[in-house]
Symmetry: C2
Subunit: 174 residues, 2 copies
DNA sequence: GCAAAAAAGTTTAGGGTTCAAGCGTCTGCG
DNA sequence: CGCAGACGCTTGAACCCTAAACTTTTTTGC
């Protein structure tokens, strides 16, 4: 179990925990991680496939449209990057393609010419509305064997996981 | 399911469903999906970052090494593709780079010259062992605020989600 | 005021991802 | 036998992704 042993005094204590854990059948963090990874890979491949076939769009594009859909006034590219967890440089190319497809427009903000704001066009709003509805249906379909109670439970437990990871990431920034 | 409402007769019916679900505070499937997506994105960005900094490796490369590590005799590229959920074409490039780095070797199978088998080199085994140990530690760190019972519970509930998605995918292949 | 620092986007280089098309290599069946 | 189709892998085109360097514009500190 790879105890990154630092100090002999705490070792004795830690060993008990380790033994208990070993008894339980192990590496729960690793197993949970691998399971989440395989599920999201499986589902997002399918979502990607359907978006491509039915809407000639990609998942990151859908993601950006979703953010803009609920912000009538548009969002600056940096904010878009933060919300979608996509790096800044990547936003540029995505916005280029969405703009070329006529789904969004880019406008330079008066008062600060460094800032670019992206917003949906009329066509962008209409197209996204269709996509979102289909997307929701696909998910209901993919999770149709899971009852509502379980869904709600997993949802809340995953909040714990998310908070743990968030905190860990913030704290390791020192 | 996919109610791309085509027909006015069914519309009225669908509306009731929508209203009921809205009352519950709904779209659990969608919310669960978005949560899983953001967690895996967050964690895998961090794992990627550390793999790059500490081992000059990428996550898919790590994934391939992991599969080969537990198969002393190596795996054919097609099998590798299936297990890692990476498309065939992609395996080629990944194997090219891993081979160039001296971590794996490719051998043509006697008896069927279409088949290529990849296996770890000595250096590959050693490097992977270090990576795996670090990787496991990172996950324990990222999930350190989640207690063991919760981990075990989420793990088992996610199995339900995974099975649902698997079944749904297989059945829609007709 | 003005140079230095910071902020917002873009560009670049190196991977990764998919799908579809291509090329050898087997194999089943007529 | 022989060859049509299946199989296993590689290639190519288009997109996504990241980090790091670079531009342009604005702010900050004297």
């Amino acid at each position: 179990m790879s105890d990154n042993s630092l100090d002999l005094a705490t070792q004795a204590v830690d060993l008990e925990i380790i033994v208990d854990r070993a008894r339980d059948g192990q590496k729960l963090q690793l197993r949970l991680w691998l399971r989440m990874l395989s599920i999201t890979k499986m589902i997002s491949q399918e979502i990607r496939r359907r978006l491509r076939i039915e809407f000639q769009a990609t998942l990151p594009q859908f993601d950006i449209l979703a953010q803009l859909y609920r912000e009538r006034d548009g969002l600056r590219l940096g904010e878009l990057s933060r919300r979608t967890m996509v790096t800044n440089g990547n936003i540029t190319g995505l916005a280029d393609r969405l703009e070329a497809d006529g789904l969004i427009v880019r406008e330079i903000l008066d008062g600060d010419r460094r800032v670019t704001v992206a917003k949906l066009t009329k066509q962008g709003r209409e197209t996204f509305a269709e996509m979102a509805s289909a997307h929701e249906g696909w998910l209901r379909e993919l999770m149709s064997d899971v009852d509502q109670d379980t869904l709600a439970l997993v949802l809340s437990q995953l909040a714990t996981v998310k908070n743990s990871a968030s905190r860990s990431l913030v704290e390791s920034e020192d």
